[in-house]
Amino acid sequence: MASELDLSRDRLDAPFARRVEELSGENPYACYQCGKCSAGCPFADYMDVLPNQVLRLVQLGDESALDLSAPWVCASCLACGVRCPKGVDIAKTMEALRLLALRKGISPAPATPDRPCPQIALVGAFRKLTP
């Protein structure tokens, strides 16, 4: 006999998801996985998983979301947020993941300039890539 399928909503109230929600101010469960955010993200090509998949991991309470490259590649351009049919500002979710990682001591690959940069770039990077 086939094993029972658990269709309850209980699993979809993960403490990790609620922590991300608290930090971002965005309800991850509002997302219905349409993928529009990923379709328009100019940086999706450089991410290990797509923005909608990042949200899915958060919904499932999967803390491996903190080890992804995607939040570090996200440039907070907000293209996803203006287009999301559910009004989810995904850039805020990405920021919450960056901050959760940074506050645990996980930081992205090198944050040192690989070529000379003006201060406007350095200030922006320090703010996004340090706790």
Binding site: S76, G81, C117, L122, L129
Partner: protein, 284 residues
């Protein structure tokens, strides 16, 4: 002359000098007495998107306290990034509990009371100067120049703080038209160049810059205009080998040149065509 408080931000005193020089001279011609706010500090470039990170709002809010101290109700920015941080932080700390905390933290400053309006050069030109008056001050038309209007992100997103329709903006195109130029509308005009990723991921930004420049050129542009110093740097300095060589200039530079002010970067782009006296692109 109309008084106008002005927050330059650090880029205007550094790599974006030509923008500030040009814009301030143009504003004087348009009848503004621009006054730099005293003891301003960097706004932090990027707006903090977290709920609990009040510390990162101190930079922008302290600048707004200075505007308040001048007895002014509004402040002008030229830089798109400064516009983003100042407008959004002003709104974020309107919430009473946040306002109380941030004021308690900045205990050597006057309390921020809110109610400061942040205006960007583009909205000032559209809503207060008006395209007609702008056109009337143009001494040298940009006639013959096709100008790709690059908005980037911060001017258009999020929607609540957009200077225009976030998916179909036209303010920069109308300003170019007022100067006699032909705006080149191209699909990448609202797509991010990569911003601060330029620090650790210049490979990504180089790709983005190439794509944006090819699109601008492919749609016929002779040059790209922007109001964001980070966009200008990314498009110009991260330009990949083999990408179109069209110049990336600031809006302030175009305004100044059009109004008859010396501006070598624009002058280099146009040369007099003897027959018509019109400026023509010098073979970009």
């Amino acid at each position: 002359m109309k008084k106008l408080a002005y927050f330059p931000g650090c880029a205007m005193k550094d790599q974006a000098r030509p923008d500030e020089n040009g814009a301030l001279q143009a504003l004087a011609i348009l009848g503004y007495e621009v006054e730099e706010i005293p003891r301003w500090n960097c706004c932090g470039t990027v707006y903090s998107l977290a709920q609990d990170d009040l510390m990162r709002h101190v930079g922008p809010v302290r600048n707004l306290v200075r505007v308040q101290g001048m007895g002014e109700k509004r402040v002008l920015t030229l830089c798109a990034m400064c516009y983003g941080t100042l407008t959004r932080s002003a709104r974020f700390v309107e919430e009473p509990e946040r306002l109380e905390r941030i004021n308690a933290f900045m205990d050597t400053e006057d309390d921020f009371r809110g109610g400061i309006e942040v205006v960007h050069l583009l909205t000032l030109l559209r809503d207060e100067v008006g395209y007609e008056k702008l056109a009337s001050k143009v001494k040298r038309s940009l006639d013959g120049l096709k100008v790709a209007t690059y908005y980037g992100c911060v001017l258009l997103r999020p929607r609540e703080f957009a200077v225009d329709d976030p998916e179909r903006p036209e303010v920069m195109e109308r300003v170019v038209e007022a100067m006699g130029g032909t705006p080149t509308v191209f699909p990448e005009r609202m797509e991010c160049c990569g911003a601060y990723l330029t620090v650790g991921r210049s490979d990504v930004v180089t790709d983005r810059a190439g794509r944006i420049l090819r699109s601008a050129r492919g749609n016929g542009a002779d040059l790209v205009v922007t109001t964001c110093p980070l966009c200008q740097f990314n498009l110009d300095e991260r330009r990949p080998a083999g990408a179109p060589s069209l110049p990336v200039l600031y809006l302030g530079q175009l305004l100044a040149w059009a109004m008859g002010v010396d501006e070598p970067a624009v002058a280099a782009l146009v040369s007099k065509e003897p027959a018509t006296g019109k400026p023509v692109p010098s073979g970009v």
